[in-house]
Symmetry: C2
Subunit: 339 residues, 2 copies
DNA sequence: GATCACATGGCAATCGTTTGCCAAAAGTTG
DNA sequence: CAACTTTTGGCAAACGATTGCCATGTGATC
């Protein structure tokens, strides 16, 4: 019977069986040669590996996952991939995943809770767990997701779930101390989206610290954290006659800087500006931005590590890992103007 | 016989068989209800879907991939995830993948060809294809990879492979025209890594355009395209007494701007600076950078689209898709200083 | 040299789907 | 109403690995 000659297509990828046949052993032996070296004779193993190499064989993660239940894949979901703030988290997660020999699946939730839930549901059966960065999902949805898959949150907390968060309490106090040291007695907070967990933590921290120091603080916004929203925020700050503004994040802060520049307002002469995130670009805008840096790369890496721990050993320890923040003082803050 | 009661672990995810049993149909019917609606009666289908919903069933992409051969997953490999230049490509790829209902796996090759090859080999059996952005792999390795998986390159060309590239020929001519219009009669190119395909395309284009216009151009470098390399590049430019410098990319260009600022050199008064990429931040550095913008987001999206086309129908058309570039003229370029 | 343990390799079941094929049921046609 | 087509659902065989269990062969021990 003539073998069907496949038309000029892609050559079939060789499987464990091809290797087994070619090496004259059973498939199970090939499998063990790869995953369980002690279980097979050294010389057999060497031979198998040699044949595998020659055939260009690589084990199929898919088939492996199906049988073993582990996919050695973790998913990282971020609200907006393009936002440079998340670059660090992504990088860190990538690094930790690569170090652990695990594949990273990246999802963009578009700041949209339903999209996030849909992704979790779709990816769930195929990954070993989720790192949800700045998740917008309601607690209830998070709880449900965590029933089926290990979940670690980044800069978001939810009852019973492990998370990695920045130390906003200390960080915001540093900001307030810094402003106070320059003689500011009040400031404005230009707030971001109400659903943002980080945002509310920041506001709470700023209020508390301001209160401790007897400073006056008022909140404006919410503003969409984009450069273009900076104009509105800046104008509101000027309208309020404030000597300092702390912005929801650097994106907004840089937008504010721009607008102030356009309007001929001196920074920090007339108004001091502070941001959050120390995002890429914050050190080369004009003036360079004073901002509270988070260790986002660490956060991403630690989140993945925590997740893998949780997934491999089923020891679910829903602890919170708090990472220190650091105030980077640059040119956008200075002495309060008098009068 | 007493059923083994699982200790307080994660509840078992329901499978197609659970749904089938609960709905009183065969597993194949459930499968078809999801993937082949016409093949099953409307009311049966509705019932099955209802049961599936109730049980929180989601098909396992893993099992599906194993049988069907398609994983509905594509991998995007970039040299450096953190580099904001790639954000656009990543975003675009994500968008196109999401639109096609396909999962995106992200890999960071760390600008390291062996890492890239290892990733391709490891991920190969589990994905429907690769988008390789600014791949550093030698042509030969690319060819081998493309034998086993569909591959689409971004800003890299290789014989027989589909690619999406920026129109550097036109773009570089625009840069040169722009400089010439300001009276510059020569300029320096601060080059990037020699392996960079984009980099060499840029250099070739600049040379050709300069030659056409009778301008003099010399190449310095290579420089590692990071902010910190800007100092060396800037100093070299000053040493050469050039009136204009075109940098390998914006990262380097901004580094150059900084250094020139530190040294009290006026931009564009003394020296004009041009970059490539229109990376995030290029519009709010000081002065804002004149740069050649690529449509990176489009590139990522088109690459994924091309890849899926190639993967689904096995029509391998190794065409090159050339995307237009756009010169964004900002504050860093101006009239050549005289003398 | 008989006994035993251990190292090693193979058999076969399994993971959760998809899909080719067949059979039953339903509808159509003359 | 017989013969035929079409719709619809089920059976069972893959897909490519992993892994529990068993069989064999080897060397160690007494």
């Amino acid at each position: 019977m003539a073998q069907v000659t496949p038309p000029p297509g892609r050559p079939r990828r060789s499987t464990i069986n091809d290797v087994a046949r070619e090496a004259g052993v059973a498939a199970s032996t090939v499998s063990r040669a790869f995953t369980n070296p002690d279980r097979v004779n050294q010389v057999t193993r060497a031979h198998v590996l040699e044949v595998a190499e020659r055939l260009g064989y690589a084990p199929s993660p898919t088939a492996r996952a199906l049988e073993s239940g582990r996919s050695d894949t973790v998913a990282l979901l971020v609200p907006d991939i393009t936002n440079p703030y998340f670059s660090g988290t992504i990088k860190g997660a990538e690094r930790a995943a690569a170090a652990a020999g695990v594949t990273l699946v990246l999802g963009d939730t578009q700041e949209h809770p339903p999209t996030e839930e849909k992704l979790v549901r779709r990816l769930g059966p195929a990954v070993d767990g989720f790192v949800l960065a700045a998740s917008r999902m309601p607690d209830e949805a998070l709880r449900r997701a965590a029933e089926l898959n290990p979940v670690v949150l980044v800069n978001r907390a939810s009852p019973g779930l492990a998370c990695v968060v920045a130390d906003f309490d200390t960080g915001t106090r540093q900001i307030v101390d810094h402003l106070a040291s320059f003689g500011h007695t009040s400031f404005v907070f230009a707030g971001g989206p109400p659903e943002s967990w980080s945002g509310s933590r920041r506001w709470v921290g700023l209020q508390a610290a301001a209160h401790e120091r007897g400073m006056d603080v008022q909140r404006h916004g919410p503003y969409v954290p984009m450069l273009s929203s900076g104009a509105a925020a800046a104008d509101a700050v000027l309208g309020a006659g404030a000597t300092a503004v702390v912005c929801h994040n650097d994106m907004l802060a840089i937008g504010v800087l721009r607008r102030l520049g356009e309007r001929g307002v001196a920074v920090p002469g007339d108004v001091s500006v502070v941001g959050f995130d120390d995002m890429f670009g914050s050190d080369f805008c004009t003036p360079p931005l004073t901002t509270l840096a988070e260790r986002t790369e660490d956060a991403g890496a630690r989140a993945v590590d925590t997740l893998l721990l949780q997934a491999r050993q089923r020891s679910a320890e829903p602890g919170a890992l708090v990472l220190p923040t650091q105030l980077r003082v640059r040119g956008s803050t200075g002495p309060a103007r008098v009068g």
